[in-house]
Amino acid sequence: MHELSIAINLVEYVSEEAAQAGWERVSAVHLKIGPLSGVVSDALLFSFEVAAAGTVLEAARLIIEDVPIIAFCPTCQTEQSLPDTFSLACPVCDTPTPDIRQGREMEVTALEVHSADVHQEDAES
């Protein structure tokens, strides 16, 4: 169960961004999680609630997009989406495919942020 430490990393990152950009509140965090990242989404959701308490992320929603594993098949010479984590073989020709192109993701893709209504320049970084 390392999701709490991952949730704390996430909250720290968003809090730093918020402090820099002057956001008052962040109401949602969008994530991409791959099946080979080693992260269990449910455990992360639970941990996030705990980690977010008392921060700019208090009560924020965590929206997790599960991305499929994509590997390059040396036989088909193309990228294939794999149905299981426990068999890294091409679903078409069954060739073992260690060349993982997607599926290890553990990243923030978007933030829903709230700032006071001033003529604020775009604080994106």
Binding site: M1, S5, N9, T85, L88, P96, M106, T109, V113
Partner: protein
């Protein structure tokens, strides 16, 4: 109040990854080859390391970091080899992180070492996500654990560079199906090199040392 959606692209463990990258550069500059040993609890990381230290010690300068939630038992056991050993007590944390490695290395002259072994916390899940700046990640898998372990914990096998089957001396007693274990490892990590070992009987340890030395030699040397 104005609401906006801001698109970003930020790895959640970026801090750890960046620190690991800095450690890797430091290791390379010092010319030390770093091995991260991962496995479930009781697979035999400490026993393998005891043997490895004893066999490498005459010719190489070695040190080890040992991660556990509590106790210094492993460090005490490994210190008998005469090599410098430090215990990292993680408290409640189920894995090692790059920052713990950096802290634990404080005061050690890395340039005086050829090999640094890091014995991770016994856990087949969490250590997989944390890069420690190692050159080689070796996953241990004992014959008593069940041949389908790799299928249940694909990420740790998938992120490793080498697999060691341990306790091969008792394989027959527990009806270990070696072919099936190999097949399962290769299903989650096609092409992963595997060595059958027994720390007690010293099986496979020569092959393990040869693999270590080969990989160490293949690692880029520091620019003088």
């Amino acid at each position: 109040m104005s609401t906006r959606i801001i698109e970003v692209r930020h790895g959640i463990l970026k801090k750890n990854d960046e620190l690991a990258a800095r450690l890797r550069a430091r290791f390379q500059e010092a010319g030390v080859f770093v091995v991260n040993l991962v496995s479930g609890p009781g697979a035999g990381k400490t026993a393998l390391l005891e043997r490895t230290l004893a066999m490498l010690r005459p010719d190489y300068r070695i040190a080890a970091l040992v991660g556990d939630l509590a106790t210094e038992n492993d460090a005490t056991r490994l210190a008998r080899s005469g090599a410098p050993i430090r215990q990292i007590s993680t408290g409640t944390t189920c894995h090692l992180e790059a920052e713990m490695i950096e802290d634990a290395l404080d005061g050690w002259a890395l340039g005086d070492l050829d090999f640094l072994f890091i014995e991770n916390v016994g856990n087949l899940v969490c250590p997989a996500s944390y890069d420690l700046g190692e050159n080689l990640r070796a996953v241990l898998f004992s014959v008593t654990e069940g041949e389908d372990k790799p299928l249940k914990y694909p990420t740790i096998f998938n992120t490793s560079d080498l697999a060691l089957i341990t306790k091969i001396d008792i394989a027959d007693a527990v009806d270990f199906d070696r072919d099936l274990a190999y097949e399962n490892i290769h299903r989650v990590r096609p092409g992963l090199p595997i060595i059958d070992t027994s720390a007690r009987r010293a099986d496979g340890l020569d092959a393990w040392l040869v693999a270590l030395k080969e990989k160490q030699r293949a690692t880029p040397v520091p620019v003088a």
